[in-house]
Symmetry: C2
Subunit: 199 residues, 2 copies
Protein backbone atom coordinates (compact mmCIF):
# COMPACT_ATOMS: atom_id res chain seq x y z
CA UNK A 1 0.00 0.00 0.00
CA UNK A 2 2.92 2.29 0.44
CA UNK A 3 3.94 1.09 -3.03
CA UNK A 4 0.92 2.45 -4.91
CA UNK A 5 2.47 2.02 -8.27
CA UNK A 6 0.11 4.14 -10.33
CA UNK A 7 1.62 6.78 -12.56
CA UNK A 8 -0.37 9.43 -10.75
CA UNK A 9 0.96 8.54 -7.32
CA UNK A 10 4.48 8.27 -8.57
CA UNK A 11 4.37 11.66 -10.22
CA UNK A 12 2.95 13.26 -7.14
CA UNK A 13 5.66 11.82 -4.95
CA UNK A 14 8.29 12.99 -7.38
CA UNK A 15 6.88 16.49 -7.54
CA UNK A 16 6.71 16.67 -3.78
CA UNK A 17 10.31 15.59 -3.46
CA UNK A 18 11.37 18.03 -6.11
CA UNK A 19 9.69 20.87 -4.27
CA UNK A 20 11.35 19.87 -1.02
CA UNK A 21 14.77 19.49 -2.58
CA UNK A 22 14.71 22.76 -4.46
CA UNK A 23 13.17 24.65 -1.55
CA UNK A 24 15.85 23.44 0.83
CA UNK A 25 18.56 24.50 -1.56
CA UNK A 26 17.08 27.96 -1.90
CA UNK A 27 16.51 28.30 1.83
CA UNK A 28 20.11 27.41 2.50
CA UNK A 29 21.61 29.74 -0.06
CA UNK A 30 19.30 32.76 0.11
CA UNK A 31 17.65 32.24 3.48
CA UNK A 32 14.07 31.26 4.22
CA UNK A 33 12.67 34.79 4.35
CA UNK A 34 14.36 35.84 1.13
CA UNK A 35 12.98 32.90 -0.79
CA UNK A 36 9.56 33.47 -2.27
CA UNK A 37 7.10 30.74 -3.04
CA UNK A 38 7.23 31.93 -6.61
CA UNK A 39 10.97 31.22 -6.70
CA UNK A 40 10.46 27.75 -5.29
CA UNK A 41 7.76 27.06 -7.83
CA UNK A 42 9.99 28.23 -10.64
CA UNK A 43 12.85 26.05 -9.44
CA UNK A 44 10.58 23.03 -9.06
CA UNK A 45 8.94 23.69 -12.41
CA UNK A 46 5.42 24.03 -11.18
CA UNK A 47 3.03 26.93 -10.91
CA UNK A 48 2.90 28.90 -7.66
CA UNK A 49 -0.68 27.78 -7.21
CA UNK A 50 0.34 24.14 -7.36
CA UNK A 51 2.83 24.65 -4.57
CA UNK A 52 -0.07 25.18 -2.20
CA UNK A 53 -1.68 21.92 -3.29
CA UNK A 54 1.34 20.18 -1.84
CA UNK A 55 2.10 22.25 1.23
CA UNK A 56 -0.31 24.40 3.19
CA UNK A 57 2.35 26.97 4.06
CA UNK A 58 5.90 27.75 3.05
CA UNK A 59 7.01 26.72 6.52
CA UNK A 60 5.58 23.25 6.11
CA UNK A 61 8.05 22.38 3.40
CA UNK A 62 10.70 22.40 6.09
CA UNK A 63 8.64 20.65 8.72
CA UNK A 64 6.40 18.19 6.92
CA UNK A 65 8.13 15.00 7.87
CA UNK A 66 9.00 16.31 11.30
CA UNK A 67 5.25 16.37 11.89
CA UNK A 68 5.03 12.77 10.74
CA UNK A 69 7.64 11.79 13.24
CA UNK A 70 5.69 13.39 16.05
CA UNK A 71 2.60 11.48 15.00
CA UNK A 72 4.51 8.26 15.18
CA UNK A 73 5.48 8.94 18.77
CA UNK A 74 1.83 9.28 19.70
CA UNK A 75 1.06 6.01 17.93
CA UNK A 76 3.84 4.28 19.82
CA UNK A 77 2.58 5.65 23.08
CA UNK A 78 -0.94 4.44 22.46
CA UNK A 79 0.44 0.94 21.96
CA UNK A 80 2.55 0.68 25.12
CA UNK A 81 1.61 -1.97 27.70
CA UNK A 82 -0.63 -0.78 30.51
CA UNK A 83 1.66 -1.97 33.25
CA UNK A 84 4.26 0.64 32.40
CA UNK A 85 4.25 3.88 34.31
CA UNK A 86 3.38 6.88 32.15
CA UNK A 87 6.84 8.40 32.16
CA UNK A 88 8.39 5.08 31.33
CA UNK A 89 5.98 4.61 28.43
CA UNK A 90 6.68 8.10 27.20
CA UNK A 91 10.40 7.61 27.21
CA UNK A 92 10.14 4.27 25.46
CA UNK A 93 7.91 5.73 22.73
CA UNK A 94 10.37 8.49 22.23
CA UNK A 95 13.35 6.27 22.00
CA UNK A 96 11.76 4.06 19.37
CA UNK A 97 11.35 7.01 17.07
CA UNK A 98 14.57 8.70 18.11
CA UNK A 99 16.54 5.73 16.88
CA UNK A 100 16.32 6.80 13.27
CA UNK A 101 17.41 10.27 14.25
CA UNK A 102 20.75 8.77 13.78
CA UNK A 103 20.33 7.52 10.25
CA UNK A 104 18.94 10.86 9.08
CA UNK A 105 21.35 13.01 10.98
CA UNK A 106 22.25 15.21 8.02
CA UNK A 107 18.71 15.95 6.95
CA UNK A 108 17.90 16.70 10.56
CA UNK A 109 20.77 19.11 10.91
CA UNK A 110 19.80 20.88 7.71
CA UNK A 111 16.25 21.28 8.90
CA UNK A 112 17.33 22.58 12.28
CA UNK A 113 19.70 25.05 10.77
CA UNK A 114 17.04 26.54 8.55
CA UNK A 115 14.67 26.62 11.49
CA UNK A 116 17.19 28.24 13.79
CA UNK A 117 17.60 31.14 11.41
CA UNK A 118 14.01 31.86 10.59
CA UNK A 119 11.50 32.89 13.23
CA UNK A 120 8.46 31.91 11.25
CA UNK A 121 9.65 28.34 10.79
CA UNK A 122 10.42 28.19 14.48
CA UNK A 123 6.95 29.45 15.23
CA UNK A 124 5.37 26.82 13.04
CA UNK A 125 7.50 24.15 14.64
CA UNK A 126 6.42 25.24 18.09
CA UNK A 127 2.84 25.11 16.94
CA UNK A 128 3.27 21.54 15.76
CA UNK A 129 4.92 20.60 19.03
CA UNK A 130 2.12 22.18 20.96
CA UNK A 131 -0.49 20.17 19.06
CA UNK A 132 1.53 17.09 19.68
CA UNK A 133 1.80 17.90 23.36
CA UNK A 134 -1.94 18.09 23.55
CA UNK A 135 -2.35 14.72 21.85
CA UNK A 136 0.10 13.15 24.27
CA UNK A 137 -1.66 14.68 27.26
CA UNK A 138 -4.87 13.17 25.95
CA UNK A 139 -3.42 9.68 25.66
CA UNK A 140 -1.81 9.89 29.08
CA UNK A 141 -5.06 11.01 30.66
CA UNK A 142 -6.96 8.07 29.14
CA UNK A 143 -4.22 5.79 30.27
CA UNK A 144 -4.78 6.80 33.86
CA UNK A 145 -8.49 6.27 33.42
CA UNK A 146 -9.70 9.85 33.18
CA UNK A 147 -12.28 11.38 30.90
CA UNK A 148 -10.69 14.81 30.89
CA UNK A 149 -7.09 15.89 30.81
CA UNK A 150 -5.57 16.28 34.23
CA UNK A 151 -2.83 18.63 35.32
CA UNK A 152 -0.22 15.94 35.72
CA UNK A 153 -0.76 14.49 32.26
CA UNK A 154 -0.48 17.92 30.71
CA UNK A 155 2.68 18.59 32.63
CA UNK A 156 4.22 15.28 31.71
CA UNK A 157 3.43 15.70 28.05
CA UNK A 158 4.96 19.14 28.12
CA UNK A 159 8.00 17.89 29.94
CA UNK A 160 8.58 15.23 27.31
CA UNK A 161 8.36 17.83 24.61
CA UNK A 162 10.84 19.96 26.46
CA UNK A 163 13.19 17.02 26.76
CA UNK A 164 13.09 16.78 23.02
CA UNK A 165 13.55 20.48 22.49
CA UNK A 166 16.36 20.93 24.96
CA UNK A 167 18.16 18.00 23.38
CA UNK A 168 17.73 19.41 19.90
CA UNK A 169 19.04 22.82 20.81
CA UNK A 170 21.93 21.44 22.72
CA UNK A 171 22.78 19.13 19.89
CA UNK A 172 22.75 21.99 17.43
CA UNK A 173 24.68 24.32 19.68
CA UNK A 174 27.44 21.81 20.33
CA UNK A 175 27.98 21.07 16.67
CA UNK A 176 26.16 17.73 16.45
CA UNK A 177 29.07 15.85 17.89
CA UNK A 178 27.07 14.01 20.54
CA UNK A 179 24.60 11.21 19.98
CA UNK A 180 21.17 12.84 19.92
CA UNK A 181 19.27 9.89 21.42
CA UNK A 182 21.73 9.90 24.28
CA UNK A 183 20.91 13.51 25.00
CA UNK A 184 17.21 12.74 24.95
CA UNK A 185 17.79 9.92 27.39
CA UNK A 186 19.72 12.17 29.72
CA UNK A 187 16.92 14.71 29.68
CA UNK A 188 14.34 12.07 30.46
CA UNK A 189 16.56 10.91 33.26
CA UNK A 190 16.82 14.35 34.80
CA UNK A 191 13.10 14.84 34.63
CA UNK A 192 12.56 11.43 36.20
CA UNK A 193 14.83 12.35 39.08
CA UNK A 194 13.38 15.80 39.57
CA UNK A 195 14.94 19.20 40.07
CA UNK A 196 14.36 19.29 43.81
CA UNK A 197 17.76 17.97 44.69
CA UNK A 198 19.76 20.19 42.35
CA UNK A 199 22.01 22.68 44.12
Amino acid sequence: MSTETGLRERKKRETRRRIERKAFELFETAGFENTTVEAIARAAEISPRTFFHYFPTKEDVVLADYADRLDRIVEQLAGRPEVEGPWEALEASFMVVATDYDTERDLLARRFRIMARSPSVQARSLQLQSGWEDAVAEVLSRRSGREEQDLESRLMAGAAMIAMRASQRHWLATGQEVHLPALVRRCFGMLAGGFGSVH
Copy 2:
Protein backbone atom coordinates in the same frame (compact mmCIF):
# COMPACT_ATOMS: atom_id res chain seq x y z
CA MET B 1 9.68 58.36 35.48
CA SER B 2 6.71 56.20 34.74
CA THR B 3 4.70 59.42 35.08
CA GLU B 4 6.18 61.21 32.09
CA THR B 5 3.56 63.90 32.02
CA GLY B 6 4.29 65.37 28.62
CA LEU B 7 1.36 65.74 26.26
CA ARG B 8 3.09 63.57 23.74
CA GLU B 9 3.57 60.66 26.13
CA ARG B 10 0.04 60.92 27.41
CA LYS B 11 -1.45 60.88 23.92
CA LYS B 12 0.62 57.90 22.94
CA ARG B 13 -0.47 55.95 25.98
CA GLU B 14 -4.08 56.84 25.30
CA THR B 15 -3.86 55.80 21.68
CA ARG B 16 -2.24 52.56 22.62
CA ARG B 17 -4.94 51.80 25.15
CA ARG B 18 -7.63 52.74 22.67
CA ILE B 19 -6.19 50.34 20.11
CA GLU B 20 -6.01 47.57 22.66
CA ARG B 21 -9.52 48.15 23.93
CA LYS B 22 -11.16 48.33 20.54
CA ALA B 23 -9.16 45.42 19.19
CA PHE B 24 -10.15 43.19 22.08
CA GLU B 25 -13.80 44.06 21.57
CA LEU B 26 -13.60 43.24 17.90
CA PHE B 27 -11.67 40.03 18.50
CA GLU B 28 -14.26 38.90 20.98
CA THR B 29 -17.27 39.66 18.85
CA ALA B 30 -16.04 38.80 15.36
CA GLY B 31 -13.07 36.58 16.13
CA PHE B 32 -9.39 37.32 15.68
CA GLU B 33 -9.11 36.04 12.13
CA ASN B 34 -12.20 37.90 10.96
CA THR B 35 -10.95 41.21 12.28
CA THR B 36 -8.74 43.13 9.90
CA VAL B 37 -6.17 45.65 10.98
CA GLU B 38 -8.09 48.16 8.91
CA ALA B 39 -11.16 47.57 11.05
CA ILE B 40 -9.18 48.01 14.24
CA ALA B 41 -7.66 51.21 12.92
CA ARG B 42 -11.07 52.53 11.99
CA ALA B 43 -12.47 51.70 15.41
CA ALA B 44 -9.49 53.30 17.16
CA GLU B 45 -9.62 56.32 14.86
CA ILE B 46 -6.14 56.03 13.49
CA SER B 47 -4.74 55.13 10.09
CA PRO B 48 -3.86 51.52 9.35
CA ARG B 49 -0.25 52.56 9.00
CA THR B 50 -0.19 54.02 12.49
CA PHE B 51 -1.38 50.75 13.94
CA PHE B 52 1.95 49.24 13.00
CA HIS B 53 3.82 52.02 14.77
CA TYR B 54 2.26 50.77 17.99
CA PHE B 55 2.28 47.02 17.46
CA PRO B 56 4.58 45.04 15.23
CA THR B 57 1.91 42.47 14.40
CA LYS B 58 -1.81 42.03 14.90
CA GLU B 59 -1.05 39.22 17.31
CA ASP B 60 0.98 41.46 19.55
CA VAL B 61 -2.04 43.52 20.50
CA VAL B 62 -3.24 40.50 22.41
CA LEU B 63 0.13 39.57 23.85
CA ALA B 64 2.02 42.81 24.47
CA ASP B 65 1.80 42.92 28.22
CA TYR B 66 2.12 39.19 28.51
CA ALA B 67 5.59 39.67 27.07
CA ASP B 68 6.30 42.30 29.70
CA ARG B 69 5.36 39.87 32.39
CA LEU B 70 7.77 37.31 31.04
CA ASP B 71 10.53 39.90 31.06
CA ARG B 72 9.86 40.63 34.69
CA ILE B 73 10.33 37.00 35.58
CA VAL B 74 13.78 37.07 34.05
CA GLU B 75 14.62 40.23 35.99
CA GLN B 76 13.50 38.60 39.20
CA LEU B 77 15.57 35.57 38.47
CA ALA B 78 18.69 37.60 37.84
CA GLY B 79 18.27 39.17 41.26
CA ARG B 80 17.84 36.02 43.33
CA PRO B 81 20.46 35.23 45.97
CA GLU B 82 23.25 32.93 44.87
CA VAL B 83 22.77 30.49 47.68
CA GLU B 84 19.45 29.35 46.30
CA GLY B 85 19.35 26.28 44.10
CA PRO B 86 18.37 27.05 40.51
CA TRP B 87 14.97 25.42 40.68
CA GLU B 88 14.21 27.17 43.93
CA ALA B 89 15.18 30.51 42.43
CA LEU B 90 13.11 29.83 39.37
CA GLU B 91 10.03 28.99 41.37
CA ALA B 92 10.44 32.04 43.56
CA SER B 93 10.80 34.34 40.56
CA PHE B 94 7.70 32.89 39.09
CA MET B 95 5.64 33.24 42.18
CA VAL B 96 6.53 36.90 42.61
CA VAL B 97 5.12 37.67 39.20
CA ALA B 98 2.29 35.17 39.43
CA THR B 99 0.89 36.97 42.42
CA ASP B 100 -0.73 39.66 40.33
CA TYR B 101 -2.22 36.99 38.12
CA ASP B 102 -4.94 37.12 40.66
CA THR B 103 -5.68 40.82 40.47
CA GLU B 104 -5.89 40.74 36.69
CA ARG B 105 -7.80 37.53 36.44
CA ASP B 106 -10.41 38.86 34.03
CA LEU B 107 -8.00 40.42 31.59
CA LEU B 108 -6.00 37.22 31.70
CA ALA B 109 -9.02 35.09 30.96
CA ARG B 110 -10.01 37.31 28.04
CA ARG B 111 -6.55 37.07 26.59
CA PHE B 112 -6.44 33.32 26.94
CA ARG B 113 -9.84 32.90 25.37
CA ILE B 114 -8.86 34.88 22.30
CA MET B 115 -5.63 32.95 22.14
CA ALA B 116 -7.30 29.58 22.52
CA ARG B 117 -9.44 30.23 19.48
CA SER B 118 -6.86 31.58 17.10
CA PRO B 119 -3.87 29.55 15.99
CA SER B 120 -1.79 32.50 14.95
CA VAL B 121 -2.01 34.15 18.36
CA GLN B 122 -1.10 30.84 19.93
CA ALA B 123 1.87 30.59 17.63
CA ARG B 124 3.05 34.05 18.54
CA SER B 125 2.62 33.27 22.21
CA LEU B 126 4.71 30.14 21.86
CA GLN B 127 7.35 32.17 20.12
CA LEU B 128 7.49 34.64 22.99
CA GLN B 129 7.68 31.80 25.47
CA SER B 130 10.48 30.24 23.53
CA GLY B 131 12.49 33.44 23.56
CA TRP B 132 11.87 33.73 27.24
CA GLU B 133 12.97 30.15 27.77
CA ASP B 134 16.22 30.95 26.09
CA ALA B 135 16.80 34.00 28.29
CA VAL B 136 16.14 31.94 31.39
CA ALA B 137 18.50 29.21 30.24
CA GLU B 138 21.12 31.87 29.77
CA VAL B 139 20.71 33.26 33.29
CA LEU B 140 20.72 29.78 34.80
CA SER B 141 23.88 28.87 32.97
CA ARG B 142 25.69 31.98 34.21
CA ARG B 143 24.42 31.25 37.67
CA SER B 144 26.14 27.90 37.66
CA GLY B 145 29.30 29.56 36.40
CA ARG B 146 29.27 28.50 32.78
CA GLU B 147 30.11 30.48 29.68
CA GLU B 148 27.79 28.55 27.42
CA GLN B 149 24.34 27.15 27.99
CA ASP B 150 24.36 23.63 29.34
CA LEU B 151 21.81 20.91 28.81
CA GLU B 152 20.48 21.01 32.33
CA SER B 153 19.89 24.77 32.30
CA ARG B 154 18.06 24.51 29.03
CA LEU B 155 15.94 21.69 30.36
CA MET B 156 15.14 23.49 33.56
CA ALA B 157 14.16 26.66 31.75
CA GLY B 158 11.91 24.66 29.49
CA ALA B 159 10.41 22.82 32.39
CA ALA B 160 9.55 26.07 34.13
CA MET B 161 7.86 27.29 31.01
CA ILE B 162 5.92 24.09 30.77
CA ALA B 163 4.83 24.46 34.38
CA MET B 164 3.41 27.80 33.41
CA ARG B 165 1.76 26.51 30.27
CA ALA B 166 0.25 23.43 31.82
CA SER B 167 -1.16 25.56 34.61
CA GLN B 168 -2.64 28.03 32.19
CA ARG B 169 -4.34 25.40 30.10
CA HIS B 170 -5.67 23.56 33.08
CA TRP B 171 -6.94 26.78 34.56
CA LEU B 172 -8.74 27.65 31.35
CA ALA B 173 -10.11 24.17 30.85
CA THR B 174 -11.53 23.94 34.36
CA GLY B 175 -13.33 27.25 34.11
CA GLN B 176 -10.93 29.40 36.13
CA GLU B 177 -12.31 28.20 39.41
CA VAL B 178 -8.95 27.27 40.92
CA HIS B 179 -6.28 29.67 42.09
CA LEU B 180 -3.77 29.95 39.24
CA PRO B 181 -0.68 30.49 41.42
CA ALA B 182 -1.62 27.35 43.32
CA LEU B 183 -1.61 25.38 40.08
CA VAL B 184 1.77 26.79 39.19
CA ARG B 185 3.09 25.78 42.58
CA ARG B 186 1.78 22.26 42.16
CA CYS B 187 3.48 21.96 38.81
CA PHE B 188 6.77 23.17 40.21
CA GLY B 189 6.36 20.66 42.99
CA MET B 190 5.83 17.77 40.62
CA LEU B 191 8.85 18.73 38.58
CA ALA B 192 10.92 19.04 41.73
CA GLY B 193 9.92 15.55 42.78
CA GLY B 194 10.42 14.04 39.36
CA PHE B 195 8.34 11.66 37.27
CA GLY B 196 10.38 8.61 38.06
CA SER B 197 8.19 7.48 40.89
CA VAL B 198 4.86 7.95 39.16
CA HIS B 199 2.94 4.75 38.49
